[in-house]
Amino acid sequence: MIHSLFLINSSGDIFLEKHWKSVVSRSVCDYFFEAQERATEAENVPPVIPTPHHYLLSVYRHKIFFVAVIQTEVPPLFVIEFLHRVVDTFQDYFGVCSEPVIKDNVVVVYEVLEEMLDNGFPLATESNILKELIKPPTILRTVVNRSTNVGDQLPTGQLSVVPWRRTGVKYTNNEAYFDVIEEIDAIIDKSGSTITAEIQGVIDACVKLTGMPDLTLSFMNPRLLDDVSFHPCVRFKRWESERILSFIPPDGNFRLLSYHVSAQNLVAIPVYVKHNISFRDSSSLGRFEITVGPKQTMGKTIEGVIVTSQMPKGVLNMSLTPSQGTHTFDPVTKMLSWDVGKINPQKLPSLKGTMSLQAGASKPDENPTINLHFKIQQLAISGLKVNRLDMYGEKYKPFKGIKYMTKAGKFQVRT
């Protein structure tokens, strides 16, 4: 199972190590550094690195490498999933997950890591339980620095049939909020037709309900959800037979469901990009023009639009004028970024101008790809709609809310 964990920052310092079995020398990370050097960018470091006696599995999050050391045949996904869970837990505990924050809370970090694994076997990874075992730092406690952050009670939830929920939850305001968030991953080709498009959706919940509520959530069009992964609390049998989500929710924030609407179902593309990027051979000037406009938005406004593009190396500088928003071009990284804001269908935003190219060089081989970010409030682009939410098992009347949002995931337009 998992032997050790090293946290390494982007400058290659090991700033934290934790061993669950015998101590593995730091020098094992040298293999990792080698691989890091070979990969030009941090993102490109291979996640599985073999060394003579160990295997290093790593994830890169928040500019920190989380490197797990294993010695025997262990499912790598198990390790990687666990590392992600560590990151999530840190974020949950400290708000952000960064080197200074981890260093500031090193004792809590150690206690948490100790609780998460025992001899390399996962022990408590549900944040509900962890928080009962080890209390997250609060402002009060850091100021007073007196009270302990270790709970002295056996986490009750850990043994019940609903290990994700602690008992004896009490709220004065009982509320349950659900956010349906969909991300569109798409590749659009030169001519504007869709090569591939898919939707990654999640339903995140924030449930603050007293006691042991039993919730059911039903959809207007559940047949959209044919590829789903559930939080362990969801009763799979009822979903299979009735297509409703029935569950006793964990306390607080959690992801109830994630789903995937694949390329085979037609995915509506809410924006289009018109582009005209041309380099001429001999000339040291190129033309650049892009326009962004709404396509299938179901009458909603597209906002938070950001256009980024990695320009070819031969581009020295760009002189552009946007019809709205602000733009920047970094001549070192060749990254063009245009913060558009809202799209007004009456007056489409555009960015026009020229590019100055290296004199004498032939025109670049590669065409820049345009990356698009945007948000659409109050719309789930797949058309998913929640029908109703019912609560059983408790007597009070909770406050319920549901919110929809569509975002661009990896939305790329080729030119």
């Binding site: 934290l16 934790k18 061993h19 079995k21 015998s22 730091r26 993102e43 490109n44 996640p47 599985v48 295997y55 599995l57 994830v59 025997t72 045949e73 262990v74 499912p75 790598p76 996904l77 999933e81 992600h84 260093k103 500031d104 809370n105 090193v106 004792v107 150690y110 206690e111 100790e114 001899n119 076997f121 996962p122 549900e126 620095n145 302990t148 270790v150 002295d152 009670q153 056996l154 850990q158 043994l159 049939v161 290990p163 991953d185 590749i187 591939t196 898919e198 789903v228 992964s229 559930f230 362990p232 799979f236 299979e240 994630s258 995937h260 694949s262 390329a263 081989d365 990896k410 790329q412």
Partner: protein
């Protein structure tokens, strides 16, 4: 006011100061001090000197302080074993604490103290905890057994903890079950032989029940454990599959992949006609696709596994091509894997889309990726015949971009396309030749040279092109040199008149000026071929080449089946069986897919062959590996010899001979050397080959009763083979053969003195052998044999010596003596030398003789691939065939040819 204050060290006597604080009376101060100690420990400072002081803080009611001390203990107990014993008492006490959290914590920490002395004290508390009323304590104790086993395996076995652990599999609490399974799996890994997890339908049922209720991690352990079970029939397999399928919707990707493993494995047992089989196939696709929307690290592992799944059951993902399309900001390791799977999924239906994508990728920035994309286009061309034309034109477009590495990759793959579709796309050669100068990578140069050599007759200036390469011959890599040699020889065979000089030049460059044995040997082979028999050379060098196979770098089916059992593990990431890389091969058990055992007797036997294994593979198709060198060797030397394996040659001689004699004769007669017969047919191979030939010809002769007797005088004589290499016999080399001349057997020997001294006093003796072969006269070497001299002697033999059955039958052990020493060697003699020429026998007589042979002397075996003509068996009557020679009365019966 954060924890960072623990790290600040301003004063020099830090350890001393901490010591004082640890011994303070104030609880708060103590706790702060322990925190500081832990902080120092975590950044790698040595605070082991504080051991006794920290252990003193252990006896406390404060849970946090206790935990901190435990943390410290785990880290340093190893270096301070004597001190650690002080802590034992507290552990034992804590294991009795009313609070289950404390009990669990104590048993957990105990296991982490890796000190032999302590482990003995831990057995009792551990035993109690394994039977604790609180499941939380039990599940912690289960893991502790695994820890203890790691430290002292013997102790765990002696104390019977393993049995207790097995009992926990039937525990009422799913979490306890999961942990017990995990602990047992880990222990089993170091004991591959012990059957710790002997699964039976009852325990499987328990596991499946626990599967639904335990944590995600527990589900992984249970699923991995289930995958090791072999259901007894397809019904059981199906029922397990049905209960595992819901796991495919789990949010944890490791659970999903482990479930996929179980399903992929058990599916093997299900009949394909079953409705459920189709349902299952459909259910497998969405979760695999979903894995690809996860973080890149997860994607990578998923993709490596999907690569296996696609090879095993391509039908699962055949409609999902698009999800493998590459996004430009995917990490490179994801991009390369996606590309690989795209090619595997490419088919006639989606090839247009795939090609458009690949062309797009070929203009990206990342060099590695672009190269692989170009290569992928070539692989598509080879895989999907209908697309070949499109691929070639795409490649030509790419060559026009003049981007150096793109051009080079394109040329390498075009070479493969030529090999798959000969005489179809040669019109593009002109374009390729234009780019000759820009090629600087060995593989691309070699590919280009191959093309020029292969199509020399269509390229007007082929000789000039090749000559230009020849100038820097010695600076080229071996790959290019070998290729150049072959190409020029091809050119010579096609246009002999104008290229004689060129071929001379390259042969001398290869044979005389090169240090590379491969190159030199290939040079010699060509040289001798050309000088011996140019027509034969043409047949060999310009032989029709086998086509390269469609599917490149497929994993070999048996390995693939094994890897399917390892889905989700490191083995699946490396595409190697664990035995290939797991440290020391410890705990490696070969897994294999379960055979399909249908409960309802199905008669369709061809269906039971493992699905997915390409059965209709053409024998003349060789897979293209990256190894160009190996390929070309195969290519140029024609299809591999499909004769009988050489293993039948004499044991003592075989290998040594090849090296000794073969090399000697190779090196011995230098350039003018027209390889003697023993060059063309290596000595060791000669014996069995002759045997085969003899059987064939001898047999038909024997049975050919209509043809005259006595014509056998010119019977077949095998070329001389080296029997005793000089290096084994202090300079005496003996080669020889057996002949039969008009009724008398003789052994023709050639003795060569390769030593520096004169040899005299030769004598020869045979060991007892199957047919009583013995020298009929002493060995006559008239004059002393001076260095480097050779004599030829014919030694008459008779068959009156004593008899002993040898293995193989025609084995003959010979001792040769001279003034230096006695040397022994063994050889095989062809059986036909024993056959009498007047073998013609009256039909009655034959039958009588046949019946005279006692039954116990009759042995039957089949001779395969023996070219017998239709006449062959005729006289044998209902006993099929028989042949008796003068040795028949010795009751050894050897030929029994089937009709």
């Amino acid at each position: 006011m954060t924890d960072s204050k623990y790290f600040t060290t301003t004063k020099k006597g830090e350890i001393f100061e901490l010591k004082a604080e640890l011994n303070s009376d104030k609880k708060e101060k103590k706790k702060e001090a322990v925190k500081k100690v832990i902080a120092s420990m975590t950044v790698g400072k040595d605070v082991s000197a504080l051991f006794p002081d920290v252990v003193n803080c252990m006896q406390t009611d404060n849970l946090e302080l206790k935990k901190l001390v435990y943390l410290y203990l785990m880290n340093y107990a190893k270096s301070q074993p004597d001190m650690a014993i002080m802590a034992v008492n507290t552990f034992v006490k804590d294991c009795e604490d009313p609070n289950p959290l404390i009990r669990a914590l104590a048993v957990r920490t105990m296991g982490c103290i890796r000190v032999d002395k302590i482990t003995e004290y831990l057995c009792e508390p551990l035993r109690k905890c394994l039977k604790d009323e609180d499941p939380y304590v039990r599940k912690t104790a289960a893991v502790c057994v695994a820890k203890l086993h790691d430290i002292n395996a013997q102790l765990v076995e002696d104390q019977g903890f393993l049995d207790t652990l097995k009992d926990l599999i039937s525990d009422s609490n799913p979490m306890v079950v999961a942990n017990a399974v995990a602990a047992l799996s880990e222990i089993a890994e170091s004991h591959p032989s012990s059957n710790l997890l002997d699964l039976n339908p009852q325990s499987i049922n328990k596991l499946l029940t626990a599967l639904n209720e335990c944590t995600e991690w527990g589900q992984i352990f249970i699923l991995d454990c289930l995958a090791n079970y072999t259901p007894k029939d397809d019904r059981e397999a199906q029922s397990i599959c049905e209960r595992v399928t819901p796991r495919l919707s789990h949010a944890n990707s490791a659970v999903v992949l482990s479930a996929v493993k179980v399903l992929m494995k058990f599916m093997e047992m299900l009949s394909k006609d079953l409705d459920y089989y189709g349902t299952l196939l459909k259910k497998l696709a969405p979760p695999l696709v979903t894995l690809l929307s996860a973080e890149p690290e997860l994607q990578y592992v998923a993709l490596r596994n999907i690569n296996l799944i696609v090879q095993k059951r391509p039908e699962i993902l055949k409609h999902e091509m698009k999800v493998f399309f590459v996004k430009y900001n995917d990490p490179i390791y994801v991009k390369l894997e996606k590309l690989d799977i795209m090619i595997r999924l490419a088919s006639q239906a989606n090839i247009a889309q795939v090609l458009a994508e690949l062309k797009e990728y070929a203009t990206e920035v990342d060099v590695d990726f672009v190269r692989k994309a170009v290569r992928a286009i070539g692989r598509c061309a080879i895989k999907v015949e209908q697309s070949a034309e499109r691929c070639v034109s795409t490649l030509l477009d790419l060559i026009q971009t003049k981007v150096n590495y793109v051009v080079q990759e394109a040329i390498v793959v075009i070479k493969d396309i030529f090999r798959k579709y000969p005489n179809k796309y040669e019109s593009v050669i002109a374009t390729l030749c234009e780019n000759l100068d820009s090629l600087d990578e060995p593989e691309a140069r070699a590919a280009m040279i191959w093309i020029v050599g292969e199509y020399a007759e269509r390229i007007d200036n082929a000789d000039e092109l090749l000559e230009s390469f020849l100038e820097g011959f010695h600076d080229e890599s071996t790959q290019v040199q070998l290729q150049l040699l072959t190409a020029i020889v091809k050119l010579f065979l096609k246009k002999p008149t104008e290229t004689q000089e060129l071929v001379q030049q390259v042969l001398s460059l290869a044979t005389q000026d090169s240090d590379n044995p491969d190159l030199r040997d290939r040079g010699y082979i060509y040289w001798r071929l050309l000088s011996t028999d140019p027509v034969a050379a043409k047949e060999v060098v310009l032989a029709e080449k086998p086509l390269i196979s469609e599917e490149t770098d497929l994993i070999e089916p048996t390995l693939l089946d094994e890897l399917i059992c390892y889905i989700g593990t490191l083995a699946s990431v490396y595409h190697k069986p664990p035995s290939a890389f797991v440290e020391g091969g410890r705990g490696v058990v070969h897994k294999s897919l379960p055979p399909r055992t249908a409960s309802n007797e199905s008669t369709e036997s061809p269906e039971t062959a493992p699905a997915g294994a390409p059965s209709g593979e053409q024998p003349d198709v060789i897979p293209t590996q990256g190894d160009l060198l190996g390929d070309l060797l195969n290519l140029d030397l024609g299809p591999p010899v499909s004769g009988p394996p050489l293993a039948t040659s004499s044991v003592q001689m075989g290998a040594v001979d090849l090296l000794g004699g073969g090399l000697d004769s190779l090196m011995g007669d230098e350039p003018e050397g027209i390889g003697g017969p023993n060059f063309v047919a290596p000595p060791a191979a000669a014996v069995p080959a002759n045997l085969g030939a003899t059987m064939g010809s001898g047999l038909s002769d024997l049975f050919d009763l209509t043809s005259g007797v006595g014509t056998l005088s010119g019977s077949y004589v095998a070329p001389k083979a080296v029997w005793l290499p000089a290096m084994k016999a202090k300079g005496l080399e003996i080669s020889g053969t057996f002949t039969r001349q008009v009724g008398s057997i003789s052994m023709d020997l050639q003795l060569t003195n390769k030593a520096l001294q004169v040899m005299t006093d030769f004598a020869i003796q045979f060991n007892r052998n199957s047919f009583g072969l013995a020298p009929a006269a002493p060995l006559q070497v008239h004059a002393p044999l001076s260095p480097n001299q050779t004599v030829e002697i014919s030694l008459p033999l008779n068959t009156v010596g004593s008899v002993m059955k040898m293995e193989p039958l025609n084995n003959l052990q010979v001792a040769v003596k001279n003034n230096i020493d006695v040397f022994y060697f063994s050889t095989l003699y062809p059986l036909h030398i024993l056959f009498v020429e007047d073998g013609k026998m009256d039909r009655q007589m034959f039958l009588a003789t046949w019946k005279d042979i006692p039954n116990e002397n009759e042995a039957q075996f089949q001779i395969r691939d023996c070219p017998l003509n239709a006449e062959a068996g005729r006289p044998g009557g209902n006993k099929n065939a028989g042949s008796t020679g003068e040795w028949a009365h010795k009751a050894l019966f050897i030929l029994f040819a089937p009709r």
